[in-house]
Symmetry: C2
Amino acid sequence: MSLTAKSRTLDRIDLAILDALQKNGRISNVNLAKQVNLSPSPCLDRVKRLEADGFIEGYYAKLSEQKLNQSLLAHVQVSLVTSNTSVFKTFKEHIVKTPQVVECDMVAGGYDYLLKVRVSDMNEYRQVLGDLVDIPGVGTHHTYMVIEKVKEDTGLRIDL
Amino acid sequence: MSLTAKSRTLDRIDLAILDALQKNGRISNVNLAKQVNLSPSPCLDRVKRLEADGFIEGYYAKLSEQKLNQSLLAHVQVSLVTSNTSVFKTFKEHIVKTPQVVECDMVAGGYDYLLKVRVSDMNEYRQVLGDLVDIPGVGTHHTYMVIEKVKEDTGLRIDL
DNA sequence: GAAAATACCGCAGAATATGCTGGTTTAATT
DNA sequence: AATTAAACCAGCATATTCTGCGGTATTTTC
């Protein structure tokens, strides 16, 4: 028994299904079947298998940032003064419970973090940043405020 | 007649629907209706209206980065030497047609860009970066390779 | 070349989506 | 405060879709 999970190879049809679903997560099974030149039954079987095998992690509605008043976006680079376990634990706990932080990546050697912060306006941003720098262990930080979104690609690249 | 588009106010039920859909984009309408204490018909009416009014932009399947072999992630900070229109145009054209660049934000005063690059391995990254720095007008750049994803929140914050 | 496994299709019953109607509540106007 | 108008909701009916099952064809394995 191998260490890696059984990972069946995907044929052209599987890839076409994945691509279709990541572009339209609510397509009906009959239409999906038409699109990949299959009848509904085997198409559904494949979708179920792709879900069970973990290729599809979930389905989500994308909501409008503008309409819901969360269109101000900032990237924040944060350095911790040490990579000490308890410092990181405190930092992570704060990040996780701050809903405006929508993404947090540990980068480079373990002291630096890149956050993506989504807020409605500068006032809210100032408050989030204020709380952030008060976390013990937080050293330098730098804000990159987003002026214009040049490209955004939800979805992975699929070579058909 | 006002300049802003008609934007009806959302009540508690609308917000509950949006929240449910951004957590499970494939929930059936009857189950969604149960969840928000409505009968199916008015629930579907509301969903349709939320879509028409632009609160819901689309539905997408989230695919596994690991399973599809695109699990290496880098943030790249790039500065252009001038904000000259033609320099930016060339830059943007290159970004848009490079599938590994999944996100590109113009930040700060207009010379700096933050890219998010998704690749399968370091070889592919080296190639993407090589092509990037060859674009005329590209000055300094710095790579933040992601070691660990601390937090990732797809979906917006909804106060019920 | 035979046997087994796999993938596909069509069909049928169950579940769901969706348009329509009528009744109720809420809000606006006089 | 009464009347009108508007919005909203539930229930029903029809059309569509989902989904499991059995049968057939194709591919793989021995």
